[in-house]
Assembly symmetry: C2
Homo-oligomer: 410 residues x 2
């Protein structure tokens, strides 16, 4: 008799973004004429950079003739892309990695979800709260989280990040083997300084813990002193896996490409205390359960690092970050408290009058036809906040701010 993994059954059937979609759909049915401005889900709206388009057309043509056809590629990614990553994303910031420490994939969601495959089911987990739900849900599925009580999993250490502590997570008060950090942060849009990040690296070094560092939004960093990679911190190669994505950097949400760095210095342990190089295990995982990313996609990703590609990527990021500035100024002019949005495409809005996240979501939807994401959907410490994204159209962004101003100054 085939048995299910019962940990799956612990997950709630509903999912934040489908709950939102349902609410928006029922609003649309009852208010067919109202124009909704969507600032909820974190999908990009600007097209791919022309350099990427050109490279992908070329790659498609290569697959059209026998002489230039590409079949199975390396499961770890093509060296043309890995070399571009090493040079542009790391060496340029003084971080030196070997090609075999980089694993190209179809996106950070797959990698952050699958990374737990190579770790024991009873490692303890720590997350900053609020948090990107995939970190927790993928651990629920593999049985690392205990049971759900009052919106928290019993075996997960939640580290609150709120207005009160300026969104800077304090070190955990109980043992944590694996810590998820995402900076620039989704959903709060806040960042960590080098000194703050160093605290975490030192904690992990002292406790033989592993940091899962998601820097999917590093391209949005504007301030020069904020680290783009955790490997800018001394010792981090011994304790951290870094996840990157081209989704938000270059509009690859529908094209699917990212990469994960597993340094060779990084070890985990057997029950007997023997050290095991995680690079080898991840290589084995990817070789066994993955067959590489589309050649076309990888050629497209490579083009991001060309001189034209870099310029075009920067323009798109500037476009979104100008949206973010307009939003931040607009919301502040309304007298609202808002965080993030200066080194990240996310703004984290404190709800006025201590409204709950969902209450404020409903008001925004019904009274000004703006869709945000209720902060509580990202964890208990997100209650009383709403996430807005800067990925929208400029005109829509400005119109949204106008609507808010009128609404709040009625």
């Amino acid at each position: 008799m085939a048995l299910v993994n019962e940990h799956f059954l612990k997950l709630q059937n509903s999912y934040l973004f489908s709950d939102i979609a349902k609410k928006v759909n029922s609003f649309k049915i009852t208010h067919p004429k109202d124009k909704i401005i969507r600032m909820g889900i974190g999908d990009v709206t600007q097209p791919l950079p022309p350099a990427v388009i050109e490279a992908m057309h070329k790659a498609v043509d290569e697959l059209a003739t026998k002489e230039t056809f590409h079949g199975y590629g390396p499961e770890q990614g093509y060296s043309f892309l890995i070399d571009a990553i090493l040079k542009n994303d790391y060496a340029s910031r003084g971080v030196y990695l070997e090609p075999s420490e980089v694993f190209v994939s179809d996106g950070a969601k797959s990698d952050t979800g699958n990374i737990g495959d190579m770790l024991r089911h009873d490692n303890s987990i720590g997350v900053t709260d609020p948090v990107y739900p995939v970190y927790i849900d993928s651990n629920v599925m593999s049985g690392r989280t205990g049971i759900l009580e009052n919106g928290k999993w019993s075996d997960v250490v939640y580290i609150p990040c709120t207005e009160e502590n300026n969104f800077i997570p304090s070190l955990p008060d109980r043992r944590v083997d694996i810590i998820y950090l995402c900076y620039p942060n989704n959903p709060t849009g806040t960042t960590l300084s080098k000194d703050e990040l160093k605290k975490w690296v030192n904690y992990a070094l002292a406790n033989n813990a592993i940091i899962m560092y998601d820097s999917a939004y590093e391209a949005y960093i504007q301030d020069t002193d904020i680290p783009h990679s955790i490997y800018e911190i001394k010792g981090a190669k011994k304790v951290a896996i870094e996840f990157r994505s081209f989704s938000k950097t270059a509009g690859f949400t529908g094209v699917r490409c990212g990469y994960t760095v597993v340094p060779k210095e990084l070890n985990a342990f057997t029950l007997n205390g023997e050290t095991v190089q995680l690079n080898k295990l991840w290589n084995r995982r990817q070789s066994t359960k993955f067959n590489g990313t589309s050649y076309i996609t990888q050629r497209g990703a490579e083009a991001i690092y060309s001189p034209e590609g870099k310029k075009q990527v920067k323009e798109t990021i500037n476009y979104y970050m100008t949206n973010a500035r307009i939003m931040k100024e607009g919301l502040r002019a309304c007298g609202l408290n808002v965080y993030g949005g200066t080194n990240a495409p996310y703004l984290w809005l404190k709800t006025p009058d201590r409204l709950s996240s969902w209450k404020f979501f409903d008001k925004l939807l019904y009274e000004v036809n703006i869709v945000g994401t209720p902060g509580v959907g990202f964890g208990p410490s997100g209650e009383g906040y709403l996430r807005l994204t800067a990925f929208g159209d400029r005109n829509d962004t400005m119109e949204a701010m106008d609507r808010l101003k009128k609404w709040l100054h009625q």
Copy 2:
């Protein structure tokens, strides 16, 4: 202290195809002038069908403008592709599935590797022997296989498929919860009749077992009475998950697309005996740990089902199957015993003079410069066989047969 999943450490470091690559490389260094003909690894050599190329160019262009840009798609795949699959791969054979029973992915390797996520770690596993290594290795990683002794995992039921039983697996002699079947078979190139497949469906129905049915090579079936889908067998929707791939059908090995069918009638069980719909669990797994397949890839896959696409796909398959016929006739003319190759792109060659698989591999490499895959690499019952693939160039295929004839008639 972060602990590793020690099951990973049970896997041998070497891997069949890298062992072969090493041997071939050392031959090349010592024999730089000899022309090697590769009939080992199962990668295609013909370019993508023109209809696919055209569709992918169009899709790339769509991503170049804001109005037609596509960001995140459904994790389960776009309905344009799912509808084409339902109509052409299933309804045309009298199998009716719902769109939500099909999950588009980046390939069958990912899906066959990840499918175990939703099943308990202590389900017992059965495989036909020889077998595609991913089925076993992915179960080793999740702790379902016990220990390795004499080339077999202690908790895996191996069902021999050899010349003696005409490569038809008999039902297992001890309890098996999950059975992997791949037909047309990799590596033997043999098929199962409807009656034989029915035995397996009935076994699974009687034992509440699940059949993981890999039909990645169904497009190569020539005989009209061989089932393309397990769902052609009555009751199979209650017991089988089916994996399909565009890799061999349409040259997508480097583009990455496949799909998995998880029927809503298919249940597994909790320890308490409650039934759980696996469709829901797989949907949750994919929504949490996967973010859909490239839009460009999916548009390319859709084009396979257009009238031109179908014609072009057929031409390429005919090309490979003509290779297979030339090989089979050539090998038989040499007095060798060879199986498969009439409904599959693989030929399964019995080594002459009871040579071991590796011994014969070495002889072929050094004496006629032909690379095959040692059968023993696919499992103990593969000893004494060699896999040859029909994916090569026509001239190379003919030359290989000429070399063999001269060699064996010396």
